[in-house]
C-alpha cells in the first residue's frame, strides 16, 4: 500500500490517493489536501465532511449524495457549489474515506 506525505504528515493511501486508514485523518490534513485542489476549507465545507465521517463510522461505507440529502440534510445543489464537478469523489477524498464504487 503506498504512503503519501504532505507537509510532514504521512498517511496510507490506495492507488488513487484515497486514505485507507480513517484514523490517520484529521481536519488539518483535510485542509491541506483541499488546498491541493484549490478549495479553501471553511466551516461550510467541513460540515458535510464531518457528517460523512460520522455516518460512515456507523455504516462502514461512504454515504451517497442522496443520503447526504435525506439523512444529513445537505442540499445536493449546494454541495456541487462547494465542491464543483465531482462532489461525491472530492468529499470522500477529503474526508479520508474510500471513493464510492460499484462492484467491478
Amino acid at each position: 500500500m503506498p504512503t503519501n506525505t504532505l507537509n510532514g504528515r504521512s498517511f496510507a493511501v490506495d492507488e488513487e490517493g484515497f486514505l485507507t486508514d480513517r484514523d490517520q485523518w484529521s481536519e488539518e490534513l483535510a485542509t491541506e489536501l483541499a488546498a491541493l485542489i484549490g478549495i479553501e476549507l471553511d466551516e461550510e465545507h467541513l460540515a458535510p465532511l464531518r457528517f460523512m465521517r460520522e455516518d460512515s463510522s456507523r455504516t462502514g461505507v461512504t454515504p451517497t449524495l442522496r443520503r447526504m440529502q435525506t439523512v444529513g440534510g445537505f442540499d445536493v445543489r449546494a454541495l456541487f457549489g462547494l465542491y464543483p464537478g465531482k462532489p461525491a469523489k472530492k468529499m470522500a477524498w477529503l474526508a479520508g474515506l474510500r471513493k464510492p464504487v460499484g462492484c467491478v
Binding site: 462532489p87 464510492p100 464504487v101 462492484c103 467491478v104
Partner: protein, 398 residues
C-alpha cells in the same frame, strides 16, 4: 429458498409461514434478456410450486412489522404472531424519486427501464422500433440491484444494433454516477478498454438531477445535459415501504444488520436475507444465495441460544454479459475485489474470471435452470458460500 432450507432443518413442532403479496416469482436475471430475445412469460412462475409442503402460504401484502410484540400486520389488518422473523422483501426500483422520470410525459415512451417485468417488456417494443439516434444507458445512483446489469445492457444493445447492421446509426452512451464503468482497480485495468472497443461513449461522475421531457435531455446537478432519443435508465432503489413504515430501515429502507450474521442490529429475533438488508456488497442474487446457505446454521444456533457459527464474507459471483455471445465472470466479497483467474477449479476453470469468454456466456444461460431446479428448492450448488482465493491471481502478479 430460505423456507426450503428451514423446512429441512427445523423439527416438526415449528410452523413456517411465507407471506407475499402475490404468487408470481420472477427470475429477475431474465429481465436483462427480455428486451432482446427472451419471452417475458418465461421469467415468471407460481411461487407456490417452489415452497415446501409444510409451509403455509399467505397471499397478502405486509403493512407493518411490530418487533416489540413480535407480530406482522397484514394489509387487511390480520396479525400474525412470530417467534422468529426472516425479512426477504428485496429492493424496489423507484422511478418516482427522480424528477421527470415516472412523472414525465416520456415515461415508457422514450424513457424506459428493464428492472421490472412491465418495464422490460415495454423496452423490448421500444428497441424494436428504435433504429437510429442517441441511446443513453443510465444508472441513477447506487445502490442498485445487480450493479453490472446496466453495463450488460449497453453491451447487448451494441451487439443488437451491430447484428441489425445499423450500429452506425445508433450512438450509445453509458452514463454513471461513479467515476467510470469499472471502478475497482483490477477490473478497470482489465476491462477499461471494453467500452471504447465497442464505440460506447462514457459519461462518468454524472449525478442526475432531473429528466427534461420537453427537450429530451438528461440533466445533471453540475449543469451537464445529455440529449437522448431513447433513455434506458436504472431508477434509484429503496427497500419496501413496510420496512420504512415499521421503523426497521435506514433512510433508504434497508434494514441495518450485522454484515457477517445478517441478524438485525436492533431486533435479535429478526434476520434479513437478500437485498432487504444494508450489507455493503452487491444487491445480487448470488449474495442472497450464499448468505442463505450460511444463514441456516446461524438461525439454528440463534434459536438454541448458542453463538452464531458462520460468518458471511459478502461473497458474490456474477456473470456479466459482454455481447458477441460472450460473458465475463466476477467473483468477489467485502474485502477482495474481482480478480483474474479460473473458476470454480483453479487453473482448469472451465470458466475464466474477468475475461470475456463463450463458456461464461453459456454458464449464464444455464444458470436459469439451476435457479429454478436447484437454488429455489434449497439444494446446494458445488460452489462454496465463502470466497475462495484458489485459482485467483493477486493484483501484484499482473
Amino acid at each position: 429458498m430460505a423456507a426450503n432450507h428451514l423446512a429441512k432443518a427445523l423439527d416438526h413442532d415449528w410452523s413456517i409461514t411465507v407471506v407475499d403479496r402475490d404468487v408470481d416469482h420472477h427470475y429477475q436475471p431474465g429481465y436483462l434478456f427480455v428486451p432482446f430475445w427472451m419471452d417475458p412469460d418465461r421469467v415468471v412462475k407460481d411461487r407456490r410450486d417452489f415452497l415446501p409442503g409444510r409451509a403455509t402460504f399467505r397471499q397478502e401484502a405486509v403493512r407493518l412489522v411490530h418487533p416489540g410484540r413480535r407480530q406482522v400486520e397484514l394489509a387487511g389488518g390480520d396479525l400474525l404472531d412470530y417467534d422468529w422473523l426472516v425479512i426477504a422483501s428485496g429492493s424496489v426500483p423507484r422511478p418516482d424519486l427522480v424528477s421527470g422520470m415516472a412523472d414525465g410525459s416520456l415515461w415508457r415512451d422514450a424513457v424506459h427501464e428493464f428492472y421490472t417485468h412491465e418495464g422490460a417488456t415495454a423496452l423490448r417494443d421500444a428497441l424494436a422500433r428504435f433504429d437510429s439516434g442517441r441511446l443513453l444507458v443510465h444508472v441513477s445512483e447506487m445502490p442498485i440491484k445487480c450493479p453490472v446489469a446496466p453495463l450488460e445492457f449497453a453491451f447487448l444493445a451494441e451487439d443488437h444494433y451491430r447484428r441489425r447492421r445499423i450500429r452506425h446509426q445508433v450512438d450509445i452512451t453509458y452514463v454513471t454516477p461513479l467515476d467510470g464503468a469499472f471502478t475497482k482497480p483490477v477490473a478497470s485495468a482489465e476491462l477499461g478498454g471494453l467500452l471504447e472497443d465497442r464505440s460506447i461513449r462514457l459519461a462518468a461522475d454524472f449525478a442526475v438531477e432531473r429528466i427534461d421531457n420537453e427537450r429530451r435531455r438528461l440533466v445533471a446537478y453540475d449543469g451537464r445535459e445529455l440529449p437522448f432519443d431513447l433513455l434506458v435508465t436504472v431508477p434509484p432503489h429503496t427497500g419496501q415501504q413496510f420496512v420504512l413504515d415499521s421503523g426497521l430501515g435506514d433512510d433508504a429502507g434497508f434494514v441495518p444488520v450485522d454484515r457477517h450474521t445478517l441478524r438485525s442490529l436492533e431486533h435479535e429475533r429478526i434476520f434479513v436475507l437478500g437485498d432487504a438488508s444494508d450489507i455493503p456488497t452487491s444487491k445480487a442474487g448470488s449474495v442472497a444465495h450464499f448468505a442463505t446457505e450460511l444463514f441456516v446454521d446461524n438461525f439454528l444456533a440463534a434459536v438454541a441460544g448458542r453463538p452464531l457459527p458462520n460468518s458471511f464474507d459478502g461473497h458474490a459471483n456474477c456473470f456479466v454479459e459482454s455481447g458477441r455471445g460472450q460473458a465475463l465472470l466476477l467473483d468477489f466479497n467485502y474485502d477482495t475485489q474481482p480478480l483474474k483467474g479460473a473458476f470454480p477449479v483453479p487453473v482448469a476453470g472451465p470458466m475464466r474470471l474477468l475475461t470475456p469468454s463463450r463458456v461464461n456466456h453459456l454458464g449464464k444461460l444455464a444458470f436459469e435452470q439451476l435457479y429454478w431446479k436447484v437454488l429455489l428448492p434449497g439444494h446446494r450448488l458445488p460452489v462454496t458460500a465463502h470466497l475462495s482465493m484458489a485459482g485467483k491471481k493477486p493484483p501484484e502478479e499482473h
